[in-house]
Subunit: 212 residues, 4 copies
Amino acid sequence: MTPSRLEAFSDGVFSIAATLLVLDLHVPQPDGQGLAIGLLRQWPAYAVYAVSFITIGIMWVNHHALFALVRSVDRPLLFLNLLLLLAVAVVPFPTAVLGQYLGSEADSHVAATGYGVVMTACALAWGAIWSYITRDARLLVEHVSLPGARSTLPRFLAGLAFYAIGMGVATLSAPLSLLIYALVAVYYVLPTLPRSAHNAAADGTPRAPTRG
Amino acid sequence: MTPSRLEAFSDGVFSIAATLLVLDLHVPQPDGQGLAIGLLRQWPAYAVYAVSFITIGIMWVNHHALFALVRSVDRPLLFLNLLLLLAVAVVPFPTAVLGQYLGSEADSHVAATGYGVVMTACALAWGAIWSYITRDARLLVEHVSLPGARSTLPRFLAGLAFYAIGMGVATLSAPLSLLIYALVAVYYVLPTLPRSAHNAAADGTPRAPTRG
Amino acid sequence: MTPSRLEAFSDGVFSIAATLLVLDLHVPQPDGQGLAIGLLRQWPAYAVYAVSFITIGIMWVNHHALFALVRSVDRPLLFLNLLLLLAVAVVPFPTAVLGQYLGSEADSHVAATGYGVVMTACALAWGAIWSYITRDARLLVEHVSLPGARSTLPRFLAGLAFYAIGMGVATLSAPLSLLIYALVAVYYVLPTLPRSAHNAAADGTPRAPTRG
Amino acid sequence: MTPSRLEAFSDGVFSIAATLLVLDLHVPQPDGQGLAIGLLRQWPAYAVYAVSFITIGIMWVNHHALFALVRSVDRPLLFLNLLLLLAVAVVPFPTAVLGQYLGSEADSHVAATGYGVVMTACALAWGAIWSYITRDARLLVEHVSLPGARSTLPRFLAGLAFYAIGMGVATLSAPLSLLIYALVAVYYVLPTLPRSAHNAAADGTPRAPTRG
């Protein structure tokens, strides 16, 4: 199986999960305080929506960057990718929970922890996929060096540490915890993968693998 | 019509059906017991979500593997594929039912049977598609032998037997029934189709059809 | 703009509209009569679901067959296609209405008429698209003869007559009306377009335009 | 990264956001006045649905026209595109709010302003994307002249002025405001981009950049 096949289904799941997030925003029902108040009171839902959308969008960008380095896809990799997609597809659920409970005094920490659990599942799936791919050179495209590819694994696993901090902070302040989750997304905007292949994919001129 | 056309629409339905499953998970409403209890009490919904997502994901993988062996698509095959997609697209419904009723003493067996009925419809559609394709060599790609292709039909139909067992067990224990449905998905992770073509598609080097 | 661009977005709308139909099926709430009764009582929703899914699926098949005859897409055609997609994307709404009201004595005819109105809008959009494409030979692929292409317009417009009959029957019996809508879908399973191009697309061997 | 990658995910978000709009239409519940009255009373929801669907559809058409002029996509452009998609994906929410509140005496102006805010966010994202792309010739395809490309920026920003007028009018009449939003969509049906490249993409014959 070529990566393009796998990417068609993955593209679908990423874009649908991101777009379904909007269903977590609810039309305020008339309550005597007016629509403007009703809309503004939902600010936590908007904030969580934005963080989840950006997170899924950046995961999608990185998914493509990663599979641009993959030559062929075997059954275990398909299955690991399916686990990643399962975690991504579930994101609208903790988003809805956190959006509704971010302002709750009693339960905001539970909601923020739950959000972190799903994000940690995503990070674990990313780490498992990259560990599996870089087990040997069999699945990688030719111009990526195996040591270079392996050396990027810590950046994949860094997400786990960040999310652990986010979940720890959740017991103190759920909004602060959401801010940390947002920063993880920003962190992964920066390229995580071997540079040479990146550039080759970006400008169309394949180069010799310099460092990976 | 070439298979790639049919696959674009099928990819869409598979990935949307899988991602829509998340709408079956509901934000617990404040009930005095706290959000953590509310979230944990929904474990049946999470379990059924995971089984349905993995099942649809594996059906998608096998859909591609199957249509990689198909040279051209005629109207009856299009229509059979549409019936398969109809059954796949309906999966979020029995998933929602079983997720809500798995813990119900009176109705869990009905919910688990209903889930099995939809899965059986999927398995019937798979069997019908493969029977139709292997009727003669007209629709198959050249390097697949017809007897080899036909010899894999029992593996397609095995799902029917498993689902029948699952529905039989549903009257005893719905969770056990769900476990059996999950095992069917795992069973179909293993390749069901003629090997030679698989390898050819995977590593790009077409081989002579050895056994099919 | 090439047709493939337009088809990517159209594929998306067709497959999402078809898959969203499942949200019209609701988990029966416990009401003392048991889940089995609750599920069976929803048979109208299942029937309408099946008719809508098959109708959208067949429209998708015919959309591809049609745009396989189109060489290039201009702005008016893009806009007409957008109107078709608008009508297709709205199908889950009359489906939900008819699914809920098919058994209602007072309102089933209104629901069945509303379903027919949306289907008529689809049929009008199809007719407008084909009329526009066959205005002159500018947008058609070369091996399709303009008179041959024009001669198929009545088959496009036949849907309008059928849907008018369906809406007329709606005042007598909504289920009978639904049956007529289902028959229109079956009618459009048969190829509506110039044959030569069809065969050429199907078996890969381009032929001389015989009749169009 | 090539534009085609980015377009696959964008196509997904555009088509899903457009198709999810249908979930803003609700089945009228029996209220003694009959289904026909119930359906007709929802006319504001239908009107807003149509405006939003057409707006998203035209944004999609223009998205393709724009990225047909782009040679390669870098990280900042990816991120700007993600912000556009975030705004597009949120459209079903103000659509639902305006559909429900368009007839409300007290709150229709708030709902119409909220709709304008999201549309303004879309227009800002479009402007940012085109400003970034035309910063220098690095990202543009070769046959587009940079001055020509830059000269079209005002047409991108015109949307901002229109939406400001629409939001201003919202305090007087929400339906009039909706009409203005609809006219913006119609305005963007006309080509906004350098013509030469357009024609080249449309009829397949690349021409010399005449004016841009």
